[in-house]
Amino acid sequence: MQIIQKRKIFYIISLLIIVPGIVSLLFQGLNQGIDFKGGSILHVKMADSVTSAQVRTVLTEFNLDRSEVQRSGNEFYIRTEVLSQESTNEIMQGLRDKLGEVTFLSSDTVGATIGSELTRNAFMALGIAAVLMLLYITVRFEWTFGVAAILAILHNVLVVLGVFSIMQWEINSAFIAAILTVIGYSINDSIVIFDRVRENMKKTRRQDYEELLNKSITQTLNRSINTVLTSAFTLMALLILGGSTIQFFVAAMLVGFVVGAYSSIFIASPLWYEIKKAV
């Protein structure tokens, strides 16, 4: 496989996603859920015939005109400003009076102050994980591998954030966990390839990095594909059958997983090549 020779193509493909992603992040940002900006979500189940418009009408009576109502099947997500327990109970009662039977599924309330903390923690977690991995890879391999792997991680984070910004998918704290997991797995993929590079490097005296990398990628390709497949099986099953609560978590994970597998082959390895050539 001529992956290193064709690396410019892969750089361009990644840039085609990352650049619009960054533009979108700068101009419209991310669709932050209540975990970040504070507020309440009420999640209820109602009769099949109930429409979002009817729910909105009821909300107007409670001066909650600016609330968002999202319907998925016969379940409704009602996003409002921070609600007290009393107001939540009143709204539940109001819905019952006007629209018949209402089953309480869940409610979340998050104060506005917690959001900045969540963002700070996410960046801290990301930073600490990156430093620890860089250290580990430097000790076990060579710093060049570490730098390439971290750059690939940055690439993955930018792609996932960019896609979520462009699509305006809502992000919450589970999203951060998903991103971190994806980082763990994409570095796992890179390590398996780098491990083979390390091994092949010892075997040959003449170091033709282009050939070395192509060979290593090819040798580990079966593993890369099979591992993505088996992980995708379980993730797809959860996405389709796992219920609405966990859907976004799994979706973020799946997007990140595919990106991670792609980047370990088409980004991390070529980047290592660039670094190795430069030093």
């Binding site: 869940s106 409610s107 309330t109 890879i137 589970a174 796992n188 398996v192 491990d195 580990t220 379980t234």
Partner: protein, 400 residues
């Protein structure tokens, strides 16, 4: 050699079967489910720093102790309490019909004060020795009997003596509960709060006063409530999804790797027992993201096998004998798997440190899974493959 290997294989399979069969039910019974899977309420309380009083670790520890005492005496069922960060307390309630009401009572500061007409504080709940609720026989209303310690008795005597004919305000958390007019100085160190309480309210108040005031007041910063319907629905759905995903993985492994694939599947079974067993033993909580973490870690456990088998195939193609190929395959694959898993474990650990609630559950499950998969691959999988190699040298069985 062949006969001996066959016997060992059969014995191992039987042992594995028995293990799975006998641990299955106890694990299901003992594993702790998170609130998102069984329904419940999780509240994060934030200490409100008042002027001149810094919230310290000590303050929070004290508050947790007091709230715990309240939980016990109020009889709130299945409650978990722990401090979070420097200035927060997390309360999780699983077994209550109206957890909201329980939290509203628990989080009361319950700062008792006696004021005179000018609003001077004459006496506080610090000097309280005991508080008991009782029901007035005249109108079935509740009231709370206060009993002061010796210093409190002196202060109360002085307070009543100075205010004869004037009202004395009984204030809880800056709210006037009752304002009786003092008829005569009271020297026996006891008083009665006669607000308009029901018997239950009087009882709750007595418990709050007995447990003492919280050293600082708390506001609800985050509240997540999961109805029982959604909890059990999520549990059913995610288990079903997990089983479907697992079967897909099992079939794929046999289809792609043949005989070793079957060994991988058996390894997965052992792996599942170990992970879930460990979780129930150490009392780890299984959350919804935790189930996702478990599903993912199955992918990870398979990955160890995939790396080994790919290596095994390579070694076989180089013309090695099956036994030599298995040895070389494992030796080479070990460090690959080790390095790859350590890096993933690093992320899981960081997540465990920074995450809260369900996310922490996810990180715990993932970490246990990573370690277990490494252990199973290097012991069980390896031994089984070597035993099978004694039975047959047919490389077709290895998909080469």
């Amino acid at each position: 050699m062949r006969a001996k290997s066959s016997i060992i294989i059969v014995a191992m399979l039987a042992a594995l079967g028995l293990l799975a069969n006998f641990t299955y039910q106890p694990i299901l019974d003992t594993i702790k489910l998170g609130l998102d899977l069984r329904g419940g309420l999780r509240v994060v309380l934030q200490a409100q720093e008042s002027e001149g009083e810094k919230v310290t670790d000590d303050t929070i520890q004290k508050a947790v102790g007091i709230i715990r005492e309240r939980v016990d005496s109020l009889g709130v069922k299945e409650t978990t309490l722990y401090p979070q960060g420097d200035d927060r307390v997390v309360i999780e309630i699983a077994g209550e019909d109206d957890p909201e009401a329980a939290v509203n009572i628990l989080k009361n500061t319950a700062q008792l004060e006696f004021w005179d007409e000018q609003g001077n504080v004459l006496l506080t709940g610090k000097n309280l020795k005991d508080a008991q609720a009782r029901v007035r026989s005249s109108d079935q209303q509740g009231e709370v009997l206060l009993d002061f310690d010796s210093e409190g008795a002196k202060l109360f005597a002085a307070a009543t003596a100075a205010n004869v004919g004037k009202p004395l305000y009984i204030v809880i958390d800056q709210e006037i509960i009752s304002a009786p007019t003092v008829k005569t100085a009271i020297n026996d160190g006891s008083a009665v709060i006669e607000g308009s309480f029901t018997a239950k309210e009087a009882n709750d108040l007595a418990i709050l006063l007995r447990s003492g005031a919280l050293p600082v007041s708390f506001e609800i910063m985050e509240k997540r409530s999961i109805g029982p319907t959604l909890g059990s629905e999520s549990l059913d759905k995610s288990i079903k999804a997990g089983i479907v995903g697992l079967i897909a993985v099992l079939l794929f492994m046999i289809g792609f790797y043949r005989l070793p694939g079957l060994v991988a599947d058996l390894s997965l079974l052992l792996y599942a027992v170990i992970v879930l067993g460990t979780m129930s033993l150490i009392g780890a909580v299984l959350t919804l993201p935790g189930i996702a973490g478990f599903a993912l870690s199955i992918g990870m456990a398979v990955d160890a096998n995939v790396i080994i088998y790919e290596r095994l195939k390579e070694e076989l193609r180089l013309g090695k004998t099956l036994r030599a190929a298995i040895d070389a395959g494992f030796r080479r694959a070990f460090w690959t798997i080790f390095d790859a898993n350590v890096t993933t474990l690093i992320t899981a650990m960081v997540l465990m440190y920074f995450g809260t609630g369900p996310i922490k559950g996810f990180a715990v499950t993932l970490s246990i899974g990573i370690i277990a998969s490494l252990a199973v691959a290097l012991t069980f999988t390896r031994y089984m493959l070597l035993l099978l190699a004694n039975l047959s040298n047919n490389e077709k069985l290895y998909g080469v």
